[in-house]
């Protein structure tokens, strides 16, 4: 490789070195490795895909994106912080390798084949970033551009998916004879829909089928799309395009990334790019291209990343905060925000009826809904992929903390009228949803620590005991377990307010009680 292929330099050093205990091997040939490329360097062995992913990230950060914002912060030991301005906002200088969400989340989307929405004002690089992801899949820049769907108010289903061949329409005796000229983008491994909120509602429904079920249908003909990563852009996340985005389509989006403003301090870099007529997407090094098999393999490796119980428990605790709506249901299981929403009753009225709890402290009062199963699955896969990207074998709490806001940004809706938002120190969270979600997770962790659930979790212990199976559990033991469950429920409900996590604990205990009851009945029948 010529040392002067501009933009073609990739980090040769490990991008996130980790200490590994392995037999020491010193290769005398390393004497000749260094800054000067000899052109006779030995061909490197098969590269680890997480390292390749990091190389792609750093290439984009260092070459393609001019002013990255390091908003995904990691620390090893104390970090330097400054209180800035009258509002005393904190500027942190992270003490460990930190990342730019605008590049990292799309990359994780690429490697997990999920769906990413870029939001932000015009000219912030949303489309450019999506195109880079398309190029990363190995498609030529020209094909990526041509395959990009531009939302517009006149967009029809035929524009989006394809047309029946006119000759077949005339000659066909039945529907099966009509061939469809499918649009080329349906076969791409990276699909880009620009300004998706300008697509008419009916066409959005067709898009939903492709996004949700991975096939397209026109006149009864089916096109099965390959597994692909999706990138959508919207100038205004709040539906400020021509059409309101249908909820189901919104719900299919896995992560939402905000394109932040350009820092004019980097204007010189922009100037060089203009003067030299450089388009980074046209200069992506071939070594960074991910083949389909590599993405498959990376996806497989990501799924193998462990989520340790201590991290999982905190996520369980966080999610359990939000679904409870005590006054919404007469039956215990239906005391949920979903019940309230489905009833069509006025939200304000329902909230006003909910009293007795500390509405400032109860995290559940800050939201208008709970966390769905789809959101949880997305959260877990992105936490795993972030851990993978960082070269770890298991998810750390910080990984979860960092991806959570981007996954739940458009999913967990704040109740802006909640007392939490009326406090002056929390006013900024009304507009900064990412910051609010991160704060919400931190508050949940504080509560988890206060309750000492890491060490004292009797519900978890009962669940673990049940998880060992019922083989050879005697009638006497079963009765003892049932007694413990009943006693625990009695303790839990004694003179205490009902909070989200307690509600979920009680439902879990009810589940366990029911399973043991059924088992007891079966035992007696033997």
């Amino acid at each position: 490789m010529s040392p002067f292929n501009i933009f073609n330099r990739i980090s040769q050093a490990p991008t996130n070195p980790k200490p590994v205990v392995k037999p020491r091997q010193f290769d005398v040939a390393s004497l000749y490795q260094g800054p000067v490329q000899s052109g006779t360097a030995a061909v490197a062995g098969e590269q680890a895909l997480d390292e390749k992913l990091r190389q792609a990230y750093f290439w984009i950060v260092n070459n393609a994106i001019i002013s990255p914002h390091y908003d995904i912060e990691y620390n090893e030991g104390p970090s330097q912080t400054y209180a800035v301005g009258d509002s005393k906002r904190t500027l942190t200088l992270p003490s460990a390798q930190s990342y730019s969400s605008f590049i990292l989340l799309p990359l994780l989307t690429f490697v997990t084949r999920k769906k990413c929405l870029f939001v932000g004002g015009p000219g912030r690089g949303k489309t450019a970033s999506a195109i880079l992801m398309g190029v990363l899949s190995g498609a030529p820049v020209r094909d990526v551009r041509r395959a990009m769907q531009h939302g517009h108010p006149q967009m029809t289903i035929a524009d989006l998916l394809g047309n029946p061949l006119p000759a077949d329409l005339m000659a066909a005796q039945n529907m099966d004879d009509i061939r469809i000229a499918w649009r080329k983008w349906l076969g791409m491994r990276v699909k880009i829909v620009d300004e998706y909120n300008r697509i008419p509602t009916r066409t959005q429904s067709a898009l939903l089928t492709v996004m949700g079920d991975n096939y397209a249908e026109v006149l009864g003909q089916i096109f099965e799309c390959p597994e692909s990563a999706w990138y959508l852009t919207a100038n205004d996340d709040q539906g400020g395009g021509t059409y309101q985005v249908i909820d189901a389509l919104r719900d299919r989006i896995d992560v939402t990334v905000q394109a932040l403003a350009f820092n004019p301090r980097f204007l010189n870099d922009l100037l060089v790019r203009i003067e030299e007529n450089i388009r980074p997407e046209e200069l992506m090094p071939r070594e960074l291209i991910f083949t389909e098999e590599e993405v498959d393999r990376a996806g497989e490796e990501i799924r193998q990343i462990e989520v340790p119980p201590e991290v999982r428990h905190r996520l369980e605790f966080f999610c359990s905060q939000f679904e409870l709506f005590e006054t919404a249901g007469a039956q215990f299981e239906y005391m949920t925000k979903d019940t309230a929403r489905l009833s069509g009753m006025d939200w304000g009225q329902l909230v006003a009826a909910d009293n007795g709890r500390d509405r400032l402290k109860d995290l559940g009062c800050q939201t208008m809904n709970g966390v769905s199963v789809r959101n949880l699955m997305t959260l877990l896969i992105f936490a795993k992929s972030l851990a993978y990207f960082r070269g770890n074998k298991s998810v750390e709490l910080d990984d979860l903390r960092q991806v959570l806001p981007f996954v739940l940004l458009d999913k967990l809706h704040p109740d802006i009228d909640a007392p939490f938002f009326s406090r002056p120190e929390n006013a900024a969270y009304k507009t900064d949803r990412l910051g609010w979600l991160r704060r919400l997770f931190d508050l949940s962790n504080d509560e988890f620590n206060r309750l000492d659930l890491d060490r004292d979790d009797p519900v978890g212990e009962l669940a673990a005991e049940f998880g060992q199976g019922l083989n050879d559990v005697s009638e006497r033991d079963t009765r003892a377990r049932l007694m413990r469950i009943e006693r625990l429920i009695g303790d839990r409900v004694k003179g205490r307010k009902l909070y989200g996590h307690l509600y979920d604990d009680l439902l879990k205990l009810k589940y366990l009680h029911q399973r043991y009851t059924n088992y007891l009945k079966w035992l007696r029948s033997q």
């Binding site: 205990v21 010193f26 004497l31 000067v36």
Partner: protein
């Protein structure tokens, strides 16, 4: 001022050479054009003079190669006013002209090989880059091929204190003619390499060159000292702790970890990890079994007595198969003595 055939090559390809500078400035925002001019004049020109004298028809091609590499070196601040050292300039001024007979056939490889090797040796704490440069220059007339140059550079790097290259260098030594090899090791011309090799494998503190043995190793009473306080440019922020292992010693100093490797030619510290220090394979050679005895501050090994310049209190003696390492809470250095 660059003159002669090299100046003519530069003038003939002026637009091309200027375009390359523009590209380099784009790649390296802090690119120092003056440093490039200085490097071309003081370091590239001597190489080009040697090329002109040896094989003038290769000058244009080699000039282009050298120019590209020079841009890279200047861009990475490895030469010029902001460079950490003058090692690159010394390689280009002294060593490359000496190897011009190899360079004309493989310019990129030879330049990269010698420049990278010098930089690697220089940044290895405990290695002696001056010795390597001198010995490489002295042996140059006898090196006629790129493989021989590679092997020679590696063997001399080992002799210059890169103890971790010991096994690799001995393996590659077999590819060289015996006469050249004996010369590289400063052994008697009548010696047998296989015999030397066998002896060196048995005892890392033996070498056929008695001068080296005296100069670098156990002949001094203080032994071979490694480390020193970070405040004085050393590697240890606190008095080190050691554990013996097959490669040498795992070393812990405050929150930093190292692997210490040593032989007759020198000792080097490599970065290590807490995991390696705590969980890496260790040797449990006892001081008694290794024939080491310490009375007060007198260290007795099978090879002789050494007066330790340390308080006798809390001395720590750790032995591996060939070496005893002495550390103390009262020093940041580690003293090594052969068993």
């Amino acid at each position: 001022m660059i003159a002669g055939p090299f100046a003519q090559v530069l003038a003939a390809g002026r637009s091309q050479f200027n375009a390359r500078v523009v590209e380099a400035r784009r790649r390296y925002p802090a690119f120092d054009v003056q440093a490039l001019a200085d490097f071309l004049q003081s370091s590239v020109a001597p190489v080009m003079q040697a090329v002109t004298a040896h094989m003038p028809d290769r000058l244009a091609v080699i000039a282009l190669t050298a120019y590209d590499i020079a841009l890279d070196l200047v861009g990475q601040a490895l030469t010029g006013a902001s460079a950490r050292s003058k090692i690159v300039d010394r390689v280009w001024q002294d060593l490359l002209p000496a190897y011009v007979h190899v360079l004309v056939n493989a310019p990129t490889e030879v330049v990269a090989l010698l420049t990278n090797a010098a930089l690697n040796i220089e940044k290895t704490s405990g290695a002696r880059v001056d010795q390597w440069l001198e010995e490489m220059k002295n042996i140059a007339p006898q090196i006629t091929s790129l493989p021989a140059l590679q092997a020679t550079g590696q063997i001399l790097a080992w002799r210059a204190g890169m103890a971790h290259f010991r096994d690799g260098a001995m393996a590659i030594a077999d590819t060289l003619p015996q006469a050249l090899l004996l010369q590289l090791l400063d052994a008697d011309s009548g010696s047998d390499w296989q015999q030397i090799r066998k002896q060196m494998q048995q005892d890392p503190w033996w070498c056929p060159d008695t001068v080296s043995m005296t100069k670098y190793s156990y002949a001094t009473e203080q032994g071979m000292t490694v480390g020193q306080f970070t405040g004085f440019g050393g590697a240890f922020p606190a008095p080190p702790e050691l554990r013996a292992c097959e490669y040498g010693f795992w070393v812990k100093s405050a929150d930093r970890y190292f692997l210490l490797m040593a032989d007759v030619y020198g000792a080097v510290l490599h970065p290590s990890s807490k995991d390696e220090f705590e969980h890496g394979a260790v040797l449990d050679t006892t001081v008694g079994a290794a024939g080491v005895n310490c009375q007060g501050n007198i260290l007795q090994t099978r090879r002789g007595k050494h007066v330790l310049n340390l308080p006798a209190k809390e001395l720590a003696l750790i032995c591996n198969l060939h070496t005893v390492a002495v550390s103390s809470p009262y020093t940041y250095g580690i003293s090594l003595y052969p068993l």
